[in-house]
Amino acid sequence: MKLTLKIWRQKNADAKGQIVEYPIDGIEGDMSFLEMLDILNEDLITKGEEPVAFDHDCREGICGMCSLHINGEPHGPDKGITTCQLHMRMFKDGDTIFIEPFRANAFPVIKDLVVDRSSFDRIQHAGGFISVNTSGNTIDANAIPINKHDADEAFEAATCIGCGACVASCKNSSAMLFVSAKVSQFALLPQGKIEATERVLNMVKQMDEEGFGNCTNTGACEVECPKGISLENIARMNREYLSASLKG
């Protein structure tokens, strides 16, 4: 099929960017979206132009590196997937496709479609862990039986890949879904309850300092999340935060 790509090009963090149009031909439905961009880049390189920079790594939907805003949605029109899992069969001949970076002040553009998501890391540094020494001198793994339902729910929350689609889709650029997933994972497990108070206070504080917006519960994040992280996690974090505030 034949497509028109409208891609955000920006030389570096300080440069002003703009949308540049690229026609592309010979795209097949079995190609992944990123393979389509590979073809574009191969073509640009041969022509002596600069290829489009975009983040990607595992190309199987788990590393969370790919981060394109495609036709107005993070990770494109398909649901429950990352950009690398999007296939061209979702588009039809003659389509125009807008490709932009994930936008938020807390995700500044590095180049073209590549953004800096280290704000997510800093939130995790503030409390995304259980303070246990890695010496291996812990109790036997089966010494703490955990209700299967809680374990499964903690796992569901823990499947977050930190891609930032929640922030990108949110009209407020809020990172609540991301932060709440980590808070929830630990809040649901007995191992994590011990530090729950400090954890939620510190992580929310760091989240606010990074310049993310406030959640207004539009639910866009949940819909766009490639891993289907539930809004219930945000509610849980709200509860955790409020009770932590009362305690602390």
Binding site: L44, E49, I62, S118, G136
Partner: protein, 665 residues
């Protein structure tokens, strides 16, 4: 130079404990003045960085991704082995040790493997304490599943995302130390050289991938946890950025590269769909617990399927060749990966492949769906002979077990695997070879350590499923932090390592020269053009089956391609900016050297063992033929061109295990 593996004396089961009791330690105050560089933040690097920082060392950690959480360990699906014997099915440290050595086709080091099995149980304890949400049974206790090549259920898992959960556990341990200021994290940095001062590894040269700046970093020891080199095949299940550069640069600085030809070709991957393909996707081996692998018995059916005249579900059972069950009745569909992959290749080479390219076999869940459906119908007191209901219930069970994998398959192939069998084909997945290390996980360059997939140590010629995660975390959490102390105890009076020395300057200049050459080359072809060519040579001549003639050709062809690359590659942009093509070019340049050594190693190893299958050396039934005279580790010393590399042998001795023919029949 003789290789000294430094294996402690004494009975196998006591070696590690006794050794730990005797090695030198560094006191806490002194640790504060010792720096350690850890390159790579996967399971091995991440867990090592966290543990070293927790012990008190100053750690500088590097990764090329934008966050340590994205290292490719995250993509491991199936699980992690541990000799916990929670199922009471006869598992033990010895049995895990035995299975691993046998699975590795008797090409791994006994003492290392035993230690791995010994600390495996601890890993599970550690991870649970960290909040890793492993799958549990209704009673609240941890669940296990079984994996290929073993007769017990010892694999712990978190749905099909075990690697992710374990890596996030290690990442959280790192975060704690980053928050405390004990780890300085360098994201989007690529290591481009090791700096050796006075015979010891004392630092690295790294490039900031955002600014393009080349930086000097010093430390008292350098740890490489930089993963495998499967991407030398261009198409593999590795991440796009996975590379051999760190290990290869270490090799060029004197570290021996061991067994480069041992590559694991994973049997259950999604087949290639066309020329545009950029990477291959793995479907967890756990699927073989419930899926049956087959191709049609009759060539007419094969042709009809390829032409779309027949659907796989139309072919009756008696006309299907469940070739693994036929050839290996004892293990059936759960034979080890190398065996399953070769069997698939054998059928496809014979013309029975079931897709357009003729390179695919079926993985069929229909029997499992029926079995589980009946079971669930029985439990719920429903009608077990209602085929429709049974199918629906069975699909429910399969969805609970493998839902994410089935969804992944459907997104890529656009076929519903609940209704029609999956198509799979083997793909490059893991490399057992890597930098040679001794019992301490130190390479032959003092102060340069190598852990996880990047080293060669534990899996011999073939790795069993769910053992990579085990090795990565064992090395990082429980082995290296001890053994490195022994080395660093000599360094308590050394003081900070300066970076303004001639050694650093020379290494930095060499890196800058290479970068400048590539940028200014202005050739005609992109980096990918060369990478794809290399991949084709590797897959065709150093792939699932190898022979002397092909390997000799490969050596010549790769050397020629390398020359062409340096002459004709085109890297757009400049050096001092975010330039992915430049980063890629540096990686491919190293693959073009490694590929040649790989072929040389495969040529030299005149036997078949595990992932290395030489067509000249097979039994009458087509099984791998091991030869006792090759019971050694091939460690290669760099001497300029890869073809000039010098072989050093570390003989492998088996005192606690009888070397037998490896049979899964």
């Amino acid at each position: 130079m003789a290789l000294d593996s430094k294996i402690p004396k004494g009975p196998l089961a006591d070696k590690w404990t006794n050794y730990k009791n005797q090695i030198n330690l560094v006191n806490p105050a002194n640790k504060r003045s010792i720096d350690v560089i850890v390159v790579g933040t996967g399971l091995a690097g991440g867990s090592a960085a966290a543990t070293l920082a927790e012990l008190g060392y100053n750690v500088k950690a590097f990764c090329f991704q934008d966050s340590p959480r994205r290292a490719h360990s995250i993509a491991a699906q199936g699980g992690i082995n541990a000799a916990k014997n929670y199922q009471g099915d006869g598992d033990s440290t010895y049995r895990l040790f035995y299975d691993t050595v046998k699975g590795g086709d008797y090409r791994s080091r006994e003492a290392n493997v035993y230690r791995l099995a010994e600390v495996s149980a601890n890993i599970i304890d550690q991870c649970v304490a960290q909040g890793v949400p492993f799958a549990r049974e209704y009673g609240g206790y941890l669940d296990n599943r079984s994996f290929g090549g073993v007769l017990v259920s010892r694999t712990f898992y978190a749905a099909g995302q075990t690697g992710q959960q374990l890596l996030l556990g290690a990442y959280s341990a790192m975060n704690r130390q980053i928050g405390r200021g004990k780890i300085t994290m360098y994201n989007r940095h690529e290591m481009l050289d090791v700096v050796v001062v006075g015979g010891k590894a004392r630092g690295i040269i790294a490039r900031n991938l955002v600014t393009g700046e080349v930086e000097r970093h010093s430390a008292h020891a350098v740890v490489l946890g930089t993963g495998g080199y499967g991407n030398v095949f261009f198409l593999s299940t590795n991440a796009m950025g996975s590379n051999v550069t760190a290990a290869w640069k270490a090799h060029k600085r004197g570290a021996f590269f061991a067994n480069p030809c041992y590559t694991q070709i994973h049997p259950t991957c999604i087949p290639v769909s066309g020329e545009h393909q950029s990477k291959l996707t793995l479907m967890s081996e756990s699927l073989r617990n419930d899926g049956r692998i087959w191709v049609p018995k009759n060539m007419d059916d094969v042709m009809a399927i390829r032409e779309g005249k027949l659907k796989p579900t139309d072919i009756p059972h008696e006309n299907r060749d469940y070739y693994l069950e036929r050839r290996y009745p004892a293990f059936g569909n759960l034979v080890p990966r190398d065996v399953a992959s070769r069997a698939a290749k054998e059928r496809c080479d014979a013309g029975y492949g079931v897709n357009k390219t003729g390179e695919a076999v079926y993985l069929d869940f229909a029997s499992a769906i029926e079995r589980y459906g009946k079971e669930r119908a029985h439990v719920r007191g429903l009608n077990e002979s209602d085929a429709k209901l049974v199918k629906q219930l069975g699909q429910e069970v399969i969805k609970e077990k493998y839902g994410n994998l089935f969804q992944m398959y459907e997104k890529i192939v656009d076929q519903n695997p609940y209704e029609t069998p999956m198509m799979i084909y083997p793909a490059v997945h893991y490399t057992m070879g890597g930098l040679w290390v001794d019992y301490n996980l130190m390479t032959n360059v003092p102060g340069l350590y190598c852990i996880g997939e990047a080293n060669f140590s534990d899996h011999g010629a073939n790795r069993l499923g769910a053992s990579a995660l085990m090795q990565g975390l064992a090395d990082g959490y429980f082995v290296l932090p001890y053994t490195i102390g022994d080395y660093l105890s000599q360094d308590i009076r050394t003081g900070k390592i300066p970076t303004d020395t001639p050694e650093f300057a020379a290494a930095e200049k060499a890196v800058n020269d290479n970068l400048a050459h590539l940028i200014n080359n202005n050739g005609a072809h992109s980096v990918d053009h060369f990478h794809k060519k290399l991949g084709k040579i590797m897959w065709n001549k150093c792939g699932m089956a190898r022979n002397a003639q092909g390997l000799k050709e490969a050596i010549v062809e790769i050397a020629a391609l390398r020359k062409e690359f340096w002459k004709d590659v085109r890297v757009p942009g400049t050096q001092n900016e975010f330039n992915e093509e430049l980063a890629k070019a540096m990686r491919v340049a190293d693959y073009l050297e490694l590929g040649e050594l790989f072929a040389k190693d495969a040529l030299e190893r005149e036997e078949s063992a595990g992932g290395h299958f030489r067509e000249e050396y097979q039994t009458e039934e087509g099984e791998a033929l091991r030869r006792p005279e090759f019971q050694y580790v091939a460690a290669w010393e760099y001497k300029g061109e890869p073809k000039d590399a010098v072989l050093h042998k570390e003989e492998l001795e088996y005192e606690n295990i009888e070397v037998k023919e490896r049979s899964y029949k």
